[in-house]
């Protein structure tokens, strides 16, 4: 495990998470997250080679229902919270010519 994160690594992770962070936050988060990573290092004291992972406390896999048509949210309800919408669609800034910009 790499038990510390420098500012560059923090910026990289922020980009992966689609989070804009300020310079001040990058410095602060690098120190705070490094401290947490150092703490979680202790998991390496345990030999877990033969231990299966538990992703979930219940032994459930897929839960199916009957494939029948039921009422659901209307387009109007779905779009009601949209910061911007038009003609029944969510509206976002232009996506297609981003490569050239």
């Amino acid at each position: 495990m790499a038990s510390s994160l420098d500012e560059a690594a923090v910026r990289h992770v922020a980009r992966l998470a689609r989070l804009r962070i300020t310079d001040t936050e990058a410095v602060l988060f690098a120190a705070q997250l490094s401290k947490v990573l150092e703490y979680v290092e202790q998991l390496n004291e345990l030999d877990t080679r033969d231990v299966p992972p538990t992703a979930h406390p219940l032994p459930v896999s897929n839960v199916f229902r009957e494939d029948i048509v039921r009422p659901t949210w209307t387009p109007e309800q779905t779009l009601r919270h949209a910061p911007d919408c038009q003609d029944g669609y969510f509206r976002v800034p232009k996506v297609l010519d981003q490569e050239s910009s």
Partner: protein
């Protein structure tokens, strides 16, 4: 005459016609709206809606209808559960103007049982925190000492019950978020077994850990509310289809022969001396009442926090990806392009603790680190779960402190995330293992702050857990003490 401020007393009186739902709701609202008695427990409320609903209940009674088990009971709900009335902010700027158009499963259940949801309570942003200091709006005060935190993340719900604004409330518990504030506020808080209560309409934080549960002044009321909200709901695929016992009817199981497990791992370094002695006194009292106290071992409990802060943050980073400024919530005013739209909306909308956790989780799941962090944590989770399975072969419940200390001062831990995380040490393992756990008041420290006692039981062992906690309350009065209102300013 107003009945004693308990769920059972109010609903009984309302059903008999000795007390009106309107009077009951008005009394709660008046305190909520008073400057002295509210402790900044609520983010928002709707007086008119609540009174209208209450009057309808009174009309239905007048027309001879049979009312539900929570008839006329004013209740508070943590603001991370969707309501079709008012806002659902999750204590975050990113959802400041979000109004859900549907009710969470638990809201439907409460109100169809006759309860009146009077308002939505404060929490750490997206339930991430242990003090409500991470709320984007304000910090809830502890009714026992307004200079101290109420705990978190369900601090608003617990403070509202402690101050008797409402006789009961709902919270959510991902790593201790019902139990720790219940302990700090001197009230009862139950985290049901994973799968017992539907999470439909609960804004997701850690999907394999989150559970909704009741907060009340005594175990009886908590049992009654659990009975109303538990049970299968097809809209949550992790909701378990298993009968809901009549918890209330089965509370009167004698203490004699009950096997209580004590694990030294819960009484080690870092545990406050006064908390230790209050918890020890509670265990001694139960032994005097005929319980058998047995020593057990949970050797991996000490890895709980490290495991949790990888699992919970990984799940959070994935769950909170939905807040993208496109479909709902805050959007940055003038985005340059779509990437900027995502990054700026999230960067401006989320507070620092939420950002830290999203980043930690993203890192733990990222290529090259997945095996070392996330997968490792999932394997340790198995070891923690196995410890509980083994312990519950030997004992009915495990007794421990809820938190290492009583309520800390506002600001005391807010600059050190790791120190804040460590305050969850005794509660976190129950979520990782999916077992049920309850926090009940067991005394006070020298400063007059409440101390909490935790019982943990096996998955779907709520019946026994509640009965044992109830038996403890029958022989003690800690849960009956109410904080005094601050003097008029």
């Amino acid at each position: 005459m107003a009945p004693q401020n308990s769920v059972l007393a109010i609903s009984t009186a309302v059903r008999k016609g000795d007390y009106s739902a309107e009077e009951s709701v008005r009394k709660s609202m008046d305190q909520l709206e008073s400057p002295q008695g509210s402790y900044q427990a609520f983010l928002h409320h709707d007086r008119e809606r609540a009174l209208t609903l209450a009057r309808k209940i009174d009309q239905r009674r007048a027309q001879g209808e049979t009312l539900g088990p929570l008839a006329g009971v004013p209740m508070a709900v943590k603001d991370n559960m969707c309501t079709s009335f008012g806002a659902t902010t999750c204590g975050s700027r990113i959802l400041e103007s979000f109004h859900s158009f549907y009710d969470a499963h638990v809201i439907e259940r409460l109100e169809s049982a006759g309860a009146v949801v009077i308002g939505k309570t404060n929490l750490d942003e997206f339930a991430m925190g242990s003090s409500t200091e991470n709320s984007a709006y304000f910090t809830t005060r502890n009714p026992w000492d307004p200079g101290r935190v109420a705990g978190g993340s369900s601090g608003g719900s617990c403070a509202a019950v402690a101050a008797r604004i409402v006789p009961a409330a709902l919270g959510s518990d991902t790593g201790g978020s019902i139990r720790q504030p219940a302990s700090f506020c001197g009230v009862v808080g139950l985290k049901p077994s994973y799968g017992r209560v539907s999470r439909y309409g609960l804004v997701a934080f850690g999907s394999s850990l989150d559970q909704i549960g009741p907060i009340a002044t005594d175990v009886r009321d908590a049992a009654l509310i659990l009975e109303v909200i538990a049970g299968h709901d097809a809209r949550d695929s992790t909701s378990v289809d298993r009968p809901v016992p009549d918890y209330l009817a089965r509370l009167d199981r004698p203490m004699k022969g009950v096997r209580i497990g004590i694990s030294e791992e819960y009484f080690g370094d870092g545990l406050d001396r006064e908390v230790r002695s209050a918890v020890q006194a509670a265990i001694d009292l139960m032994a005097d009442g005929g319980a058998e106290v047995l020593s057990i071992h949970l050797p991996h409990m000490k890895y709980g926090i490290a495991c949790y802060y990888l699992v919970a943050t990984a799940e959070a980073s994935s769950n909170l990806a939905r807040f993208d400024g496109v479909r709902y919530g805050y959007r940055t005013p003038r985005p340059n392009d779509t990437l900027d739209l995502y990054e700026s909306s999230r960067g401006e909308g989320f507070g620092p603790e939420v950002k830290r956790r999203i980043m930690l989780g993203t890192y733990a799941l990222s290529s090259g680190y997945y095996d070392a962090y996330y997968l490792k944590a999932l394997k340790v989770r198995t070891l923690i779960k196995n410890d509980f399975d083994k312990a519950f072969e030997k004992v009915d419940v495990i007794a421990s402190p809820v938190a290492p200390t009583t309520a800390f001062r506002i600001g005391e831990k807010s600059s050190d995330p790791l120190a804040m995380y460590l305050s969850d040490i005794y509660t976190i393992s129950a979520n990782l293992a999916g077992v049920c756990a309850i926090s009940i008041p067991c005394g006070f420290d020298a400063q007059g702050l409440p101390v909490g006692l935790q019982f943990m039981g096996p998955a779907f062992g709520e019946e026994n857990l509640l009965a044992i906690a109830h038996q403890y309350q029958l022989s003690t009065d800690h849960h009956r003490l109410v904080p005094s209102l601050p003097a008029e300013a």
